[in-house]
């Protein structure tokens, strides 16, 4: 497969793994940097098999959403599967870290965990004095 197909598959599978939409993932501006992080840190063989299997998983017409999720959960999440790549992709998007290493100042700020918690990365974004006393705008008031 062409490397740019990998990059596209990376976005698609990342959306499934993180629960954030592809647009939300793009909005972090981190897609390319994270993809390169994987290429740098994971054996080529694992990466190739991973994307090959993801491609088959996502493009099998008999698979509905539920089936795709089930297969991801049962076949991709084990530490032994593709050297734990799927798990590491989730950690990568949520924390901006690879293992215990911060990838860049941008990746720290763009970690999805801050969005998930409706909060801000300490020391890197200014929420404004006293803003913590207000309900975050992103929290729907009718819940």
């Amino acid at each position: 497969m062409e490397p740019n197909t990998h990059s596209k598959l990376f976005l698609e599978v990342s959306a499934l793994l993180t629960g954030f939409s592809k647009t939300e993932l793009k909005a972090t501006g981190m897609q390319e940097s994270y993809y390169n992080t994987i290429l740098k840190n994971v054996d080529k063989e694992d990466v190739d098999y991973f994307f090959l299997d993801v491609h088959v998983l996502l493009h099998d017409k008999t698979h509905n959403e539920k089936v795709i999720e089930d297969i991801l959960a049962s076949k991709f999440m084990a530490d032994s599967a593709y050297n734990g790549l799927a798990k590491n992709i989730i950690i990568l998007w949520y924390t901006g870290n690879w293992g215990s290493e911060v990838i860049s100042s941008a990746s720290y700020i763009q970690g999805l965990m801050w969005n998930a918690g409706h909060t801000h990365p300490p020391g890197a974004k200014q929420p404004g004095y006293g803003s913590w006393a207000e309900r975050p705008l992103s929290v729907k008031t009718n819940i």
Binding site: S21, T23, K26, A27, T28, G29, K125, G128, E134, L137
Partner: protein, 421 residues
């Protein structure tokens, strides 16, 4: 650090604001249209030069001084004009923010700091205009729950003409001036300079204002005349509705509490002085040694256009403006920029529901910010800080949009449209 150069306390920062001229409402002023043929072509082939060339050919038009003096008809008209002034100040904020947000992190540091300082002052201007409006509004006429302005109606639809019937001159053959939402670019800087450009005293007379300064001059005459001719004066507003320095953190100019005509004059002086200065020439001594004044917006944008700060020797601020900065150079990179599609709209994103959702999220923050300001100027000054904290979120939401590519190499951007919360 980056802001240090632009702080008022910096002694190396030359002051370039003109004091506003004295008003004499009894003096009969006649048309000041004069023969402008003496203006020669500027050797630099730049926008400012093009503008002065054009005025040399008598193409520019502006309202006569007499018309400006008599523009405001009555108190109702004055209040309407102040609401228009609010919309005018607001209409400049989204284009400046687009210019600022599209600068990529780490590049164009000086330009970003200059634009940021202008945005902060435009916010201040909205508050100052609100203070004037509140100062001349009889508390008995305010119903409970009334807001000073209508957030849905005040948000302009870009590209928009400048509110208030202000028609700045544009080079011959160009369509009438409209404010567009553009990425950081030469076109954007030309637009910003046109918005803030001082009135040209040599321009022939017409029925419309040619600058923001001329519009505020009409308001100032109106305030003075109505205050003198109304028994008991017009400054009968509730002082508790005034925003004062304690409500406004983040600085960027001075908050003036308005309870008298003199206060209102000071507030307008702050607004117009920060923008462009009121027209007419001034002595260079005043320019050079003014104490508590900052660079006017027009000159800040000129600095970015030329990639050069003004220096202490730059004293050519006579009208029409053709001064060119000669101070310390700085790097302006027109390529380290998000390639934002001009005048983005939520409608453009309808084919992509996830992207549309992002645009709506941004607009919700924007409307929330305006609601916060509106609540604050409608009798709850202490709510202003709550509104200002939302400013930070606005930037982060805008950057999310700028990271999303569209077709043809452009990217999405903030649309600054009204959405219901």
């Amino acid at each position: 650090m980056e802001n240090k150069l632009f702080q008022k306390s910096n002694p190396n920062r030359q002051k370039l604001i003109k004091p506003i001229s004295d008003l004499d409402i009894n003096e009969e002023v006649v048309s000041i249209a004069t023969d402008t043929a003496s203006f020669t072509d500027n050797e630099l082939n730049l926008k400012t030069a093009a503008v002065s060339n054009k005025s040399a050919k008598g193409m520019t038009l502006k309202m006569s001084k007499k018309d400006v003096k008599n523009y405001i008809k009555d108190l109702k008209h004055l209040q309407d004009c102040l609401r228009t002034a609010l919309q005018l100040e607001l209409s400049t904020i989204p284009p400046y923010l687009c210019g600022l947000y599209t600068i990529k992190e780490g590049s164009n540091v000086e330009a970003a700091a200059l634009i940021r300082s202008v945005v902060v002052e435009e916010m201040l201007h909205m508050v100052l205009v609100s203070n004037i409006l509140n100062a001349i509004t009889d508390p008995k006429t305010i119903k409970k729950g009334d807001k000073l302005f209508n957030v849905k109606e005040i948000i302009p639809n870009y590209p928009t003409p400048l509110p208030g019937g202000i028609v700045p001159e544009v080079p011959k053959g160009m369509p009438p001036f409209k404010v567009h939402l553009l990425k950081f670019s030469r076109e954007a800087l030309d637009e910003f300079s046109t918005i803030e450009r001082p009135s040209n005293p040599q321009a022939p007379i017409t029925g419309h204002f040619d600058s923001i300064g001329q519009f505020y001059e009409a308001i100032r005459y109106g305030l003075l005349r109505l205050n003198e001719t109304t028994p008991g004066g017009i400054f009968i507003g509730d002082p508790k509705r005034q925003i004062t320095a304690e409500h406004y953190y983040g600085s960027g100019g001075k908050i003036t509490k308005v309870v008298t005509y003199e206060d209102a004059e000071e507030a307008i002086g702050e607004i117009v002085g920060q923008g462009e200065g009121i027209d007419g020439t001034i002595a260079t001594e005043q320019v050079l040694f003014g104490e508590d004044i900052e660079y006017a917006h027009y000159f800040k944008f000129q600095e970015i256009c030329f990639g050069r700060m003004y220096s202490a020797n730059d004293t050519n601020f006579q009208m029409p403006v053709k001064s060119i900065p000669t101070g310390k150079p700085f790097t302006v990179s027109w390529s380290s920029v998000y390639n934002m599609k001009a005048n983005p709209k939520m409608k453009d994103y309808e084919h992509n529901p996830e992207l549309l959702e992002k645009a709506i999220e941004f607009n919700k923050v924007y409307v929330q910010l305006l609601n916060g300001i509106n609540d604050a100027v409608s009798g709850n000054p202490e709510l202003l800080i709550k509104g200002i904290t939302v400013m930070y979120d606005l930037k982060y939401k805008a950057l999310e949009l700028l990271n999303i590519p569209l077709e043809n190499g452009e990217c999405a951007g903030p649309t600054f449209e009204y959405v219901a919360l």
